[in-house]
Symmetry: C2
Subunit: 343 residues, 2 copies
């Protein structure tokens, strides 16, 4: 299996004695160590206006991580296209791709949180149309060798050529978050990689992988399990009490996410990423929390379900879990392990 | 005197055998060496749609430079606000400021090139109003501890709090490009640093510094010459023929700039940055081209005219000029020299 990271960083507001940059620096160190331990990639979220210091300028933070690493793939999970001028985002993405020697994985999405649409004064009903228009402009910006114009519903550009060029050709690999059968079909249709969220149960993950596989094969293409990145919360616990405490922290974070994604009338976001059960049992079932043996059993199960690429979310820069996972689980499950079996 | 850099990088389009990233990497190395040689800052332009590989995502490239340096100030000269969503740019700028430990110099401008306004489909007539509205939102994004809303002519935001926080408080130092007396007055009124372009003659520079100084003093503040960054082309020549060739290259670049900034009917941009004489004599007079002795005379003259902070533009990553300037001119003119005199 292939293991990457999925997550965010926190920059706290505070008085003159608070080092707001500490959380960002820890995140960078965490990624530098992950690369050394053999992790394949890091996927970074984009969020706005939470008030608790989330990452907003994902490509900026990722550019810093890129400058401090050599081989780590640099992913966005996801850039929310409805907020961005597509040409400016194409330029920023090309710049990091170029500087990093072609390590960008360009993950995109439509957004699902009420507070972000409200903050940007973008109607949630426009998300799909804005997403599609932006994506067209971005891909054209990267691939057109000629000047072009675009006059769409939301964006206008006249006689432009977009630079710098990307390092990867024709452009960086594209990834898209999806959950519903219809969205998964769109990802297959576009030929992108599929990002699956960290909250869905193993069974739901299996269904989604299976839909994606059949949609790929229906189109006469060969399904590659490495084109599905499955986010999973992970925590290598010292003992049962340590695991229980970690699960409690995770439930709290899930509840906070639900609250922030909901409309003011209390109605929950309808996005499939929010369609999980938030009971203690469901939370434990979906997550890779426990002793190395417990996690090994879950990885076995994921592999049986067709999952080969797991994006681990430690809920913060938890170096201890990162190291124990690398040392105690990668030897048996990582790509090196498989190569040894094959060889 | 204080010496920084001013300039751009080039990423060429090309076939599979062209390393498009080479120009960006050279630019990064140039800045890393500049820091080691004692240069104070680097100021990077933002441009779009030229077709010859200019820097577009300035904050992205600057973030990479920031990750590779320790003390170099990181400037934009300038971010053209009419192209950007002010909240997204505030987030990106705060991210580099935070990660770099507070090294961002935030230079802003209204834009002056016809091809960029046309490409973004933004009427040039809106530049001033867009600039002012964006600047208000950016400063509020950085400084407001409370959620706020903004409903302006061009941008709408509802109940937002913008993160991450900047490292510098209340926000990074602001710089503004200006040339006309009225624009210079606005810079003084706002309390920003003043960026002066590389094409104006020494006499014009002196007039502008003098207007800025008197506008500052009129407001009861103390004028600090380090708040005026004067861009100057520089080239430490081996001999007369070498200098002549460099001047020819510069004239060519100036003509290309004039062409790209002009409207299709051939009318020149009215921006004061474009109001220079492009004769061979004027070009030589405004630039620091020549032997170390010739450049020393020009620095003496600039200092007599009230200039203490020079932003050197080598027209590309010319390490040889960078080193010779540092070794042969900084000992007599740099900040260390002055400290030694005082001490």
């Amino acid at each position: 299996m292939r293991f990457g990271l999925f997550g965010s960083a926190t920059a706290r507001h505070g008085g003159p004695d608070v080092d707001s940059g500490r959380g960002y620096k820890q995140f960078v160190e965490y990624n530098v160590e992950a690369e050394a331990l053999g992790y394949h990639s890091t996927f970074l979220v984009e969020h706005h206006f939470t008030g608790f210091g989330q990452v907003s300028a994902s490509l900026s933070l990722l550019t810093w991580v890129a400058a401090k690493t050599k081989s780590l793939r640099l992913g966005t999970a996801v850039l929310v296209l409805p907020w961005h001028n597509p040409v400016l985002i194409a330029e920023q993405a090309a710049t990091i791709d170029l500087l990093s020697g072609g390590r960008l994985d360009f993950g995109v999405g439509k957004g699902y949180r009420h507070n972000e649409f409200a903050g940007f004064c973008v109607p949630m009903a426009e998300a799909e149309a804005r997403f599609c228009e932006s994506l067209d402009v971005i891909v054209k910006s990267w691939t057109s060798k000629q000047r072009f114009s675009h006059h769409g519903k939301y964006w206008h550009f006249e006689d432009i050529i977009v630079e710098p060029p990307t390092a990867q050709k024709p452009h960086p690999p594209m990834w898209m978050g999806a959950g519903s059968p219809d969205s998964i079909r769109q990802v297959a249709e576009r030929g992108y990689g599929l990002l699956l969220d960290q909250f869905a149960s193993f069974e739901t993950v299996a269904e989604r992988v299976s839909i994606f596989k059949s949609e790929i094969e229906k189109r006469g293409r060969v399904f590659n399990p490495m084109d599905v990145g499955v986010a999973r919360a992970f925590y290598v616990a010292k003992d049962e009490a340590d695991k229980e405490a970690a699960l409690e922290r995770r439930l709290e974070a899930q509840r906070r996410l639900t609250a922030i994604s909901s409309a003011p009338d209390g109605s929950k976001s309808k996005a499939s990423i929010m369609a999980y059960s938030d009971t203690r049992e469901a939370s434990e079932e979906s997550a890779l929390y426990g002793t190395p043996d417990e996690i090994a059993q879950k990885l076995e199960k994921l592999r049986r379900l067709g999952v080969e690429y797991v994006l681990l979310n430690g809920g913060g820069p938890t170096h201890d879990s990162l190291r124990r996972f690398a040392r105690e689980l990668m030897p048996a499950f990582g790509e090196g392990a498989r190569m040894r079996v094959v060889g």
